[in-house]
């Protein structure tokens, strides 16, 4: 069970949250080509390591949060609100 420190609600169990996917994907500009949109909708880095991702605190503050979480150890490096700028784990760059 993950324990996620919600910036609004404090430490809560994973069951209160809904996973909402990779936070590193960025919507391309409207005039980008089809390949850019295919990559945006479907293709993922799916890293074996640190992952920047969205979680929705469904049974709490009902706010979108962003996390840096490790996909092997499940260690949570940082949690922030959707508009925060998080410090990525060492060696990682935020895209």
């Amino acid at each position: 069970m993950l324990r996620i420190t919600c910036p609004h609600c404090g430490v809560r169990d994973e069951v209160e949250f809904r996973y909402r996917g990779d936070a590193s994907v960025q919507r391309p500009p409207a005039d980008a080509d089809a390949a850019a949109f295919v990559a945006y909708v479907y293709e993922r880095d799916n890293p074996r390591g640190w992952h920047h991702e969205w979680w929705y605190h469904a049974a709490g503050c009902r706010q979108y949060l962003q996390l840096w979480r490790h996909t092997v150890t499940h260690t949570i490096h940082a949690v922030g609100t959707a508009t925060d700028t998080l410090t990525p784990p060492h060696g990682m760059v935020d895209r």
Binding site: A34, V41, E43, T71
Partner: protein, 435 residues
């Protein structure tokens, strides 16, 4: 892609003696002789410098692909490289169910072909995989769900698969332990695929390994791929912990690690990796002689020949490569099981584990060339990889040998995402965690 011709001197003599055919007569003879005559079922090989085809991943799909390449497509200059021992990944971690009860007609046809191969598998491999067509039963709990299942059953019949409807009385007669009126989700009826069932999963890995090895395939354990070497837009081999191995064609059959391996060639796949848990209870006397699936949630259960109840549920809903599960999914699976079969509440769970699934963005597998000449993949199996092993192996071998997709897997090309031809099996859109 075209497979380069095989050098005439590529075969190498080896001292390994084949295990011979298994039969009742042989068993009797060995019993009388103190079982001294059994030999190893397959040969542990050392890597050579080069192969016509290198398959990455010694699981069900990798070994099956090698088997069919060598035995049905005449390509025996093949190596299977595996980072650990064979058969310890998802092929040894699943709940062993086989069925063709899919939603999209393309997938029904593919999985029913797989079911037909399962039906002849033990004769094909001369290996007892304990294929047990005990029937797979799905409960439904709402009118809408019934209508959806009728549609699915009709699609299955049109594709040549079998599916029958059971009313409440027939369901209760078939499964006396079922609770039809468990308060919140009363069972309205069920559908059954009589040809569905279970298979002894470990034997699938061993049987294909034996068949492939006897046909000349090198199975190389403890050989982890660390890179994909390429030249002039073409893959030329794999870098491994045991040195470079050259290859005309490289096939990735690495389940949850597909993105990781394809990433070595700079390719991003429409895949996320999620864990799926499985559970086994203590062994009890015969209790359930079908595979039962709970329509009001995500729960499936069968009883192993040893007597343990084998069951599982939904994927863990966040990206993970850890082969362990989260507790709340385990709790949810247990609650669903008790809602369906209340007697399960008295059982203790003996073991729990997880495998990492390559969840595609549309829930349909990927057997396809990748955007690097000579590189193909057999993956994206979501949580349906085990039942697909025979057909997945056969069609991936077809792709490697002929350079084009087998008709049953034409819809599994990775180019379908860019072409707008996704085959949305779960109907959830590009959100793997929602499958």
């Amino acid at each position: 892609m075209s497979v380069p011709p095989r050098p005439a001197d590529a075969r190498r003599p080896h001292a390994f003696r084949a295990s011979g055919r298994y039969s009742a007569l042989r068993l009797l003879r060995e019993a009388l002789g103190g079982h001294q005559g059994w030999r190893r079922a397959w040969r542990k090989a050392e890597p050579r410098k080069e192969y016509q085809v290198v398959i990455v991943g010694g699981g069900g799909h990798g070994l099956a692909t090698a088997y069919y390449l060598a035995n049905h497509f005449g390509i025996t200059d093949v190596a299977v490289v595996e980072k650990g021992p064979i058969g310890l990944g998802n092929v040894g971690r699943n709940t062993t169910i086989i069925r063709s009860t899919y939603y999209r007609p393309e997938n029904i046809r593919f999985y029913d072909h797989s079911l037909r191969l399962w039906e002849g598998l033990e004769q094909e491999l001369n290996f007892n995989a304990m294929v047990s067509q005990r029937g797979v039963v799905y409960t439904y709990h709402t009118d809408g769900q019934r209508d959806h299942m009728i549609r699915r059953a009709n699609d299955m019949r049109l594709a040549g698969a079998d599916c029958v409807e059971l009313d409440r009385a027939a369901l209760k007669a078939l499964i006396p332990a079922i609770s039809l009126d468990s308060g919140r989700f009363p069972v309205l009826g069920a559908f059954m695929q009589p040809r569905g069932g279970t298979v002894r999963h470990d034997a699938v890995a061993w049987g294909y390994a034996r068949g492939a090895s006897e046909a000349g395939v090198d199975i190389i354990e403890h050989c982890e791929v660390t890179g994909l070497r390429q030249a002039n837009g073409r893959v030329t081999g794999v870098e491994t912990t045991r040195g470079f191995i050259g290859a005309g064609t490289v096939c990735l059959a690495v389940a949850g690690h597909s993105s990781h391996l394809a990433g070595m060639a700079g390719i991003r796949l429409p895949i996320e990796t999620h864990a799926l848990q499985a559970f086994v209870s203590e062994a009890i006397k015969p209790f359930l002689d079908v595979v039962l699936m709970f329509g009001a949630g995500h729960f499936y259960i069968s009883q192993s020949d040893k007597g343990g109840m084998v069951f599982g549920g939904a994927i863990d809903a966040h990206n993970t490569y850890a082969q362990r599960g989260t507790q709340w999914i385990a709790q949810e699976v247990a609650a669903e099981g008790v809602a369906l079969l209340p007697a399960l509440a008295r059982l203790r769970i003996l073991r729990q584990w997880a495998g990492v699934m390559d969840m595609t963005m549309d829930g349909t597998p990927i057997i396809s060339k990748l955007p690097l000449d000579g590189l193909v993949m057999n993956g994206g199996w979501c949580y349906g990889g085990f039942k697909a092993i025979p057909a997945g192996g056969y069609t991936a071998a077809h792709l490697i040998a002929h350079g084009e997709a087998h008709p049953l897997t034409a819809h599994m090309d990775v180019g379908r995402f860019a072409a707008g031809l996704t085959v949305d099996e779960p109907g959830t859109g590009p959100f793997p965690w929602a499958h």
